[in-house]
Subunit: 166 residues, 3 copies
């Protein structure tokens, strides 16, 4: 039985738990600033997009972040580590309401809500960004990875620049 078959055979409850674990690992990777590990949650040919809800709902293509392959994600990490100039901050992410929409042509469609809180040095923690993940996952190397990840955020305004991934 292939790895994909194993996943296809999971009942909806086990699949849900599998995804809860995946999102917890994804969140921890980013919250703990292990950015170098972040691209490993994606397959080589992937799409990662952070886009305002208004643009998304109107079908406007303009995105705040757009990465069209795993290489682009790695470039982002290099920017965070080496080139970007920004004030130190902590981001704390919450994922909730995971919904498994089902398999479609070998891809698992999943949606979830996320909230990111930001703490700048010597400042109070505040709401940074809320939105919805619209994800498509495939099985690679025996585990689920993101083929597509859209972060559709509610506010056109973001309190500070978007430095770290969501």
């Amino acid at each position: 039985m292939s790895a994909l078959d194993t996943y296809l055979a999971l009942n909806s409850r086990d699949l849900r738990l599998e995804l809860e674990e995946l999102y917890a690992a994804y969140t921890a990777c980013l919250d703990e600033e292990r950015f170098e590990e972040w691209p490993e949650f994606f397959v080589e040919q992937c799409l990662y997009k952070i886009i305002p809800r208004e643009n998304f709902e109107r079908g406007l293509p303009l995105a705040t972040w757009l990465c069209e392959s795993k290489g682009y994600l790695a470039d982002r990490v290099t920017a965070i580590r080496k080139t970007a100039v920004y004030a130190p901050r902590y981001i704390r992410r919450i994922v909730s309401g995971v919904r498994v929409l089902g398999w479609k042509e070998g891809m698992l469609e999943v949606r979830a809500n996320y909230v990111a809180f930001e703490t700048l040095q010597d400042e109070l923690t505040r709401v940074f960004n809320t939105g919805q993940y619209r994800d498509k996952l495939v099985v690679e190397e025996g585990r689920l990875k993101f083929k597509e990840k859209l972060c559709i955020f509610d506010s056109l305004l973001v309190p500070n620049s978007l430095i770290y991934p969501l």
Copy 2:
């Protein structure tokens, strides 16, 4: 075996997962503004109440919203769509800490925490409302539906009017 018997036979872990799915579907329905589908989460003879924690704890009956049947819920939706005047906004809801208290006279008692974030046009996202759900569910048409849903919120103040359901 009746649908109710099927639910009664679920072990606590499967029941918990069933509820996680239900709350995720409920939240998504509201967050995505599919308000017309919202009353379908309730049975005909139901009680939906949004009430300040202080009133609830003191046994004071005054509620901010009170709907005593599915028809009332539908009226609310009509108000949102047709008669209410309000600034455009997005609400993002998080549900956490689901607790299954158990079955009592054919009703399943469940509690959970919720947080609602609000985003007004051209404004930053902020905390809108936090509180506890105290819910009673019954089995109808083969699935769990709300017989009673209390949204007990922590602050007497609400940053803007309560336009959308919680």
Copy 3:
């Protein structure tokens, strides 16, 4: 089979659900201000610490709260109920992203994100404190209890004094 063996035999999915239930019960105990029950989540010889992330990451020992046994936790509760002077408030806690790191010498290592929202009388609800739990659990009296609980919070600033546990 001992209670510990029963837990050791649980597959990762059942263990995860067991922990979701534990954190939901823990959160509800505190949110509903049943503080007298709070020490019962811990074993006698335990460590409970609330510490800023900066101190934790630099290996600095200074903690905001430090309780080195269940007795210390009970002392905290006495302070809340009898000696501390503070404005009335409600705290609402969210736990998300539970990760089971595994068993090590009879202890279960678990991490999770938490967010606490605070509502002072006649004020809006706001973000109070976000951070990560780093917990170690053991089996006592047939159930999981905290042997160690670190609450590592993101902001050096806390909007009001830390009166209630996290």
